[in-house]
């Protein structure tokens, strides 16, 4: 090596060490806490792989499923969905409803402590709910609430403007309604350093370690022996194929989703369990009813008729789904409405309807996003199926941010997406199909449907309420406000040494009862 070469290498090395040093400094601020996590006995730390990156860890502000996968295990809600999706006690041990159905009184569990050691009091619940309302994102769920109060440390009283049979689902259906301590909001750390009452407490978050949680020994189910795990590490593996390989090689214990085409082979693999339950999610497409000719229900119906849902489900989910012409899956026995007016791939019927509507040479642009790749597959299959009735489909595949922008501005012919984790029929239909609904981007307005959905919100008699929603659903399906496709199964997969974990119908990821053998 010549002197000059050596010189060049030295220059390069100085540059590199400089930058590496700068980097090292930055990362050390972060990993002080992580060190303790690493020292925990590695054998009972579960490594869970997520497909996408959580944004912030403030349960009231985030809308990212990846964040909720983590926060599910950190926070508690007043009550929570049980495995059968009925609401069971959580922070509230019991509750009472007044005879006029307008006052709900919740009795809090004794001795629950936040991870910072402070005891949970009723004021925390009121504070958290008020924050949810103020933050706006989920505030609409409190639409029926008149006022909230904490008469003593263990009682929360919620007064309603009108009866609300689904109040429990509204205020505790998912961790977006989590009960948080005021102090972490006030010191601004809630987004980066969540403190809850849940089975695991937050330790650290860094790009290389992921999100580290450790056991909360003071958890209110500690006397049952929960949680069993010493800790959880959530790592982010964006590529589905890599994530799958990581599970197979044992680098991670659990993954949040399995590419549909791999379910079969994975389930057959020894040492790996594929958890698969019919889910509350549904996939659909919607036509822009503010644009001709999609304002004509006959046109929409024609499209609903022309498609073959079984083929779409098979194509996009490799059979891990159930075709459905309404939103609510059969697994949600309390609310399932068996209604299927459209014959699959009814080309003649569809053509006749289009002719009636006086529509020919129809061309539709479908808004889809590769960020949810199944929408792209669905659109391609739909395109082929609609070609049979002479409808041309142009696919517009954009990133999800653009997708949201176009949808919000109403700049689309049709969009495809899915809804996840709904439980109550009000969640399935109101915001989407009520003419004033917050998600009614397709511009559906049917006064009868509005009336039925409004009535459903206040009907306290279960049977009567169910009848209301069945009627509403029939109208929605007949008008093809949404054209429902199928309910996919919820799928997680984990290694054989993970015990006590079950995939849930509402897609919540709960490790409280899990253990590593």
């Amino acid at each position: 090596m010549t002197a000059k070469m050596r010189w060049s290498i030295i220059i390069l090395m100085i540059a590199c060490t400089f930058t590496a040093f700068a980097g090292g400094r930055g990362e050390s601020t972060k990993t002080d806490d992580a060190a303790t996590a690493v020292e925990m006995s590695d054998t009972s730390i579960l490594i869970a792989a997520q497909g996408s990156e959580p944004d912030q860890l403030d349960p009231h502000k985030t809308s990212a499923y990846a964040s909720f996968q983590v926060l599910e295990n950190v926070y508690d809600t007043l009550v929570q969905p049980a495995e059968d999706l009925s609401m069971e006690p959580a922070l509230a041990e019991s509750w009472e409803i007044s005879d006029d159905n307008l006052t709900w009184t919740f009795m809090l569990r004794d001795g629950v402590r936040f991870h910072n050691g402070r005891e949970l009091v009723a004021e925390d619940v009121v504070y958290s709910f008020q924050r949810v309302i103020d933050e706006g994102l989920n505030g609409w769920r409190f639409g029926a609430v008149e006022s909230m109060s904490a008469p003593d440390d263990s009682t929360v009283v919620i007064s309603l403007k009108q009866p609300s049979p689904n109040l429990l689902v509204s205020i505790a259906g998912f961790k977006g309604m989590a009960i948080v301590p005021r102090e972490i909001v006030e010191n601004g750390s809630i987004g980066t350093n969540p403190v809850g009452t849940g089975p695991f407490r937050f330790v650290s978050r860094s790009p290389d370690e992921g999100i580290v949680l450790e056991k909360n020994p003071d958890y209110w189910r500690a006397d049952e022996g929960f949680p069993k795990l010493e800790g959880i590490r959530f790592v982010q593996i964006p590529d589905a194929g890599t994530k799958l390989t990581a599970l197979r090689t044992g680098e991670v214990h659990w993954i949040d989703a399995v590419p549909p085409q791999d379910i079969e082979s994975l389930a057959a693999e020894s040492g790996i369990t594929v958890g698969r339950v019919p889910g509350g999610d549904y996939h659909y497409f919607a036509l822009n009813q503010n644009r001709a000719p999609f304002d004509d229900a006959r046109v929409r119906r024609a499209l609903a008729m022309a498609i073959d849902r079984d083929v779409i489900a098979e194509a996009a989910q490799f059979g891990a789904a159930t075709a459905n012409q309404t939103a609510i899956p059969a697994s949600n026995a309390a609310w399932y409405f068996d209604y299927a007016p459209y014959r699959a791939a009814d080309v003649d019927g569809a053509k006749a309807l289009l002719e009636q509507a006086g529509v020919s040479d129809l061309s539709i642009q479908f808004l889809v996003t590769s960020d949810f790749p199944e929408t792209v597959t669905q659109a391609q299959v739909i395109a082929a199926q609609l070609a049979a009735i002479g409808v041309t489909v142009e696919i517009n595949d954009v990133d999800f941010s653009t997708w949201l922008d176009l949808q919000g501005k109403g700049e689309f012919d049709a969009f495809i997406l899915s809804w996840i984790g709904n439980i109550d029929p009000d969640d399935f239909y109101y915001a989407q199909h009520h003419s004033t609904g917050g998600f009614n981007f397709q511009g559906y307005a049917n006064s009868e449907v509005d009336r039925l959905l409004d009535a459903g919100r206040v009907e306290t008699d279960q049977a009567a309420r169910r009848a209301l929603y069945d009627q509403a659903a029939k109208l929605i399906v007949d008008d093809a406000s949404y054209i429902y496709l199928y309910n996919p199964d919820n799928i997680n997969a984990w290694r054989g040494d993970v015990q006590g974990y079950a995939t849930r119908g509402d897609n919540a990821i709960r490790f409280v009862e899990a253990s590593l053998q």
Binding site: G241, Q261, D262, E314, A315, S370, Q380, A384, A387, S401
Partner: protein
């Protein structure tokens, strides 16, 4: 002077045609162009003939390259994708040429402030991470093959500007340019008639290499979900989709992958051949030229 370019072109062509690899490359490219033009007409199936019952079946008499996850014929899609992929390459690089070369010519010829300003702008483009630039441009313009081509083209623009400018700086010093200038020829005429023909060699070589890279860029953008819109097939998009099925249906990725490989290698062969044929430096070294490269 008028004769010179033609005789040089002929000489270049002769050297190029004597290069076996370059000839192979040219033949492959010619074949690809033919496939691009008539591919859709001769393809055995339609590009969006979905047949879920026969999805992910291996190569057979009915489906030479097998079928993909929707039961579409991979052979058909590879054929039709030739046009899309070549279009991406040609239009993207055409865009880069159309912008980069004039910028380089003007900057190199006039020098001074205009040079400094133009080249700083090119520096900005160049120091921008390529794939992010492409992604951002696509986000602004909206996805789609046309915009993808512009985005990729813009990424390659500064390279052409730099190469052109560098050659112009050298050529401008030549006696005949100075003579033309001192005789009062118009700038535009000097640039187009005298300078441009003499800086073409490196530009042509860079063009073939960039064509190869542009086709690969389409693949990378497709991987990130920003390439050609479905159901239109492009090799990169097919490859990106095929990777998820590598274990169930390797043919989904292998055939478009091989198509990319062959195309890129063909462009590189032609590019290398052109460089040998056009680069006067290598021509002068006759002593050790016996070993052909």
């Amino acid at each position: 002077m008028n004769e010179k370019p033609t005789s040089r072109t002929r000489e270049t062509l002769q050297i190029l045609l004597a290069n076996r690899l370059a000839v192979v490359g040219l033949c492959v490219l010619a074949l690809l162009v033919v496939v691009g033009v008539i591919g859709e007409a001769v393809a055995p199936y339609g590009i969006n003939d979905i047949d879920i019952a026969n999805r992910l079946t291996g190569p057979s008499g009915a489906h030479w390259f097998g079928t993909d996850e929707l039961g579409r014929d991979v052979f058909t899609r590879v054929l039709v994708a030739a046009r899309v992929s070549l279009q991406v390459g040609f239009i993207a690089v055409g865009f880069a040429l159309a912008v980069g070369v004039p910028v380089g010519l003007v900057a190199g010829y006039y020098r001074g402030t205009i040079d400094a300003v133009l080249m700083r702008i090119m520096d900005v483009l160049f120091s921008f991470p390529a794939i992010l630039l492409a992604i951002a441009i696509l986000a602004v313009l909206g996805p789609g093959i046309g915009n993808a081509m512009i985005a990729i083209g813009l990424v390659y623009t500064p390279i052409f500007a730099r190469i052109t400018r560098g050659s112009v700086l050298v050529v401008s010093e030549e006696v005949y340019i100075r003579a033309a200038r001192s005789l009062g020829a118009r700038d535009g005429r000097i640039i187009l008639r005298h300078i441009l023909p003499n800086v073409l060699a490196p530009i042509i070589v860079q063009t073939t290499l960039s064509l190869a890279f542009a086709i690969l860029s389409e693949a990378a953008l497709s991987f990130l979900g920003l390439g050609v819109q479905p159901p239109n097939p492009a090799w990169g998009r097919m490859l990106a989709e095929g990777r998820n099925f590598f274990q169930q249906a390797p043919w989904m990725g292998i055939f478009p992958g091989v198509a990319i490989l062959v195309t890129v290698v063909a462009f590189n062969f032609v590019g290398d051949g052109l460089r040998d044929a056009l680069d006067p430096k290598q021509k002068s070294v006759i002593e050790s030229r016996g070993q052909s490269v």
